[in-house]
Each structure stands twice: as structure tokens, then as C-alpha cells.
Amino acid sequence: MDYALFLGCTVPARSLGYDISVRKVAKDLDINLIDVEGFSCCGFPTASIHRETSLALAAINLCLAEERNLNIITLCNSCTAYLTKVNMILKNNKETFEKVNEVLKANDLEFKGTIDVKHISRLLYEDIGTVKIEKTVKRSLDGIKVAPIYGCHYLKPSSIYNKFDDPEMPKSLDSIISATGATSLDFPEKILCCGGAILAIDENASMGMTHIVLDSVKSLEADAMATICPFCHLMYDEYQATIGNKYGKDYNIPSLFFSQLLGLAFGHEAKELGLKFNAVRTKNLVKKIMGGEQ
């Protein structure tokens, strides 16, 4: 199946491990991800300032995918929610539809409402299915305890997601993790906000939010965290040591993109999955997974 891969702003610049591993894993699962020339910001960053602008910015990307007759696959939770939401608004609200198309004329684009948007994790859960994931596993992650990190906009607002998962007690990412043979940990903080969205507004509050989740994961003695959003990754991986210092904790929890974990389970080597880009070292985790192989 062909899809347009929407990387967003953060992934292609700062989350190469996600970019690399998603492409690897998609190939294993017969998902054909196509890079579309001209994709730009999803529009979400301007939603706080000027709604109309943000709708038109989102629509640019929707139109480019429509022109190629491709559904969009997203990697970032915020891009997912915003593109899904704007797609839904424009499909259902005639007044907004006309207003936005008027703005898009400057770009010779026209929104028609012919495609859908899905996060890669939702695609795996809903369309590919855990049975196929299980069949693709070449190296079981049996014995590895993984804390699933859902983030916010992957599940919420649930009104735009057709109830594919429960926002309070989600299971889609858990079931993907379980399909690799790993143990998916159940803990209430797995749906909490990472704080990344307000890092530039209030660093203390932002990092405080991250530390609550890290504390919980640490207490569960997880071998790794699995994230599905570059902002969660930024907070739980890149900022983990800084937050540890701030709160006097030595977390040292490998925080992987879920696609990196899947890649390991599908038999790839660490260096094929961009694990070198992770801030918290993953060497011991990989050793534990490889077990007898090395």
C-alpha cells in the first residue's frame, strides 16, 4: 500500500532515529512510504495566534497529498491531530471550506476532501495488524519490559479519531509492543503529557511534567520507553539527563522510538535503526535483546 510520509518540522531535523527506523520497519511490513516534495509545517504552531492561517497551512499539505491521491502517514502526534482535525473541519464545514480554498488560490491549490490522515502507530494497529507484526518478528523481545508512551495528540481530542482507541486506557501501542514478545507495562502515567509543548513558555513546568512520568517509569524498572512522537522523545530522551540533574535522580532509561524497538525485533542491527542518535545510551538494552546472538 502507498502512503505519503509526512515528516513535519522536528523529525527530519532532530529525530533521525525515527526517520530511519520508520522507513526500515515500513519496508518489512510492505508499507510503501512516499516522500512528497513541498510538504511544510502542519499549521499547528500558528493555531494559537491565528486560526485561519493555521487552517490554510494545514490545508497546503492535505492538498499536496490529494494531488497524488495518497493518504497521509504522520510521525509526530501534533501533526497527526492537526492535519486530522483540519481535514475533518474542511470536509464538514462548508463556510470554512470556502474560506480556506479562497486563501489557497494564491498557491493554485484546492482542497477537495479525498484523503485521510493516520499516525504510523495507528496504521500498524488498525490496518497492518498485530498478527502481521508477530509474523515479521525475527528476534523476540521476550523478557524486555517496555513502558509505552502515548503522548497527547495521538489519542486526543478523541472526537477526531473515530474512537480507534480509548484516550483514558489506550491499548494500541501496548499491543504493538506485545507483538514483539516484549512485556508492555501498564501504568497510569503512560497517557500523561510530556510537557514538551510548553518548554519554550515555562521550562520549570515543562520539565516538571516530564519528571513525573520518568519517576513512574523508573519505579517500574522498565528496560526501555517507547515513544511515538518527536516531542515526547525530546523530553524523555534528549532532556532526560538534564531533568535527572534538576531533580537529583539518575534515570538512565533508554528511550526509543517505537519503530526502533520494532526494528530490533524485526532482526535489524542497532546501527541500521539510528540508535546512535539517541541521547540515553542503548548499548546495554541492545545487548540484552541480542542475548545469545553476540
Partner: protein, 183 residues
């Protein structure tokens, strides 16, 4: 009596909050909010506090209280609401949105309040900075030669950032005037 009230006005109570008097309030503010997309259900709020209890920002910073922001907006304390840093502190996690028994759609309400604040010339500097980046790169982060060399090294396709379409939208929406509060 009048004198006492004059003295009371502007006096800080419990070291934190100022006493609010009627002349500071704008009874029309609530109608301005319900006209803004996202603010439609705002008058339904019954102050139950489920939003505040669900808020992960509040869990860290007790001063951030979305129920109080809604109450302030309801009574028409317009300037305090629009000027406050608090409306920019919503992490947009949608926990309150999901749980609100009155379906006030609080996260969307916060977007509406921020949009109104911008119209009056109040904007958080970090958001302003993001606009400059969007105009320059069509994205919040630049993919320079360096990033592209790195991408190529790891077998990733090169990215040619093309801000033209984004720029045209920003121009057509007169975003520069919007953030100056001139709209």
C-alpha cells in the same frame, strides 16, 4: 465607604491577587469569546473544577488553574485574562477537554482566548519567534546543507525546504498585522 473602596482597589490580597472591582470588568467579554471559534460552549461552564483536577501543568505549577481562568473570563476580567501568561501555559494535552462534563472544550477555548489576546496585541514572544522561522523555512526548523549531508549519510532522502506556499498564506492572512494587534 467610598474612600475605603478606593483604598481596597488595587490592594494586593494574600500577597498574590488583586481585588477585582466592577469597573475593571467587561460584561461583553463573554460574548466576544463565544463568537470566537473554539469558544462556543464556554457559557456552559459550571465551575466543577474537573479541568483543573485533570491538568498536568497544574500538577507542577499550582498557580496555573484553568477553572480560575474560565471564571475570570466569565465575570469579564478581560485584561487580566488576555495579559496573563497562563493562557500560553496550556500544554494542549486535551485531558480537560476529554473529561469536562459540560463539554466546554477547554483546550479549544484556550486557543480561542489566545487568538483574542493576539488581536489585542498580547502575544508570547516564543510564538512570535516561531512565525519568523515559518516564513524563512516553511517549517519550525531549518534543514540546511549540514542536515541534508547527515540525512544522505544515513540513506535518507534530501529535503528541499520550500517556504513559498507558507509565505503566500502568511501574506494573504496579513499575519504581520495580526501579531501587531492591528487586525
Amino acid at each position: 465607604m467610598g474612600e475605603e473602596r478606593e483604598q481596597e482597589k488595587g490592594k494586593k490580597k494574600s500577597g498574590e491577587f488583586q481585588v477585582i472591582t466592577e469597573d475593571q470588568l467587561d460584561p461583553q467579554f463573554k460574548y466576544e469569546i463565544i463568537k470566537e471559534p473554539g469558544g462556543e460552549n464556554f457559557l456552559r461552564c459550571m465551575q466543577c473544577g474537573t479541568c483543573t483536577a485533570s491538568c498536568p501543568v497544574k500538577a507542577i505549577d499550582p498557580d496555573y488553574n484553568c477553572r480560575r481562568i474560565i471564571r475570570m473570563a466569565l465575570i469579564g476580567d478581560k485584561e487580566s485574562v488576555l495579559k496573563s501568561k497562563f493562557i500560553w501555559m496550556c500544554s494542549t494535552c486535551y485531558s480537560c477537554y476529554e473529561r469536562c462534563p459540560q463539554d466546554v472544550k477547554i483546550t479549544e477555548l484556550m486557543f480561542a482566548l489566545k487568538n483574542i489576546a493576539v488581536k489585542y496585541g498580547y502575544i508570547h514572544p516564543s510564538i512570535k519567534a516561531q512565525l519568523d522561522l515559518l516564513e524563512k523555512f516553511g517549517a519550525l526548523l531549518e534543514i540546511s546543507e549540514f542536515e541534508n549531508r547527515m540525512r544522505e549519510k544515513y540513506g535518507l532522502p534530501k529535503i528541499n525546504q520550500s517556504p513559498e506556499k507558507v509565505k503566500k498564506v502568511l501574506e494573504k492572512e496579513k499575519i504581520k498585522d495580526v501579531i501587531e494587534g492591528d487586525s
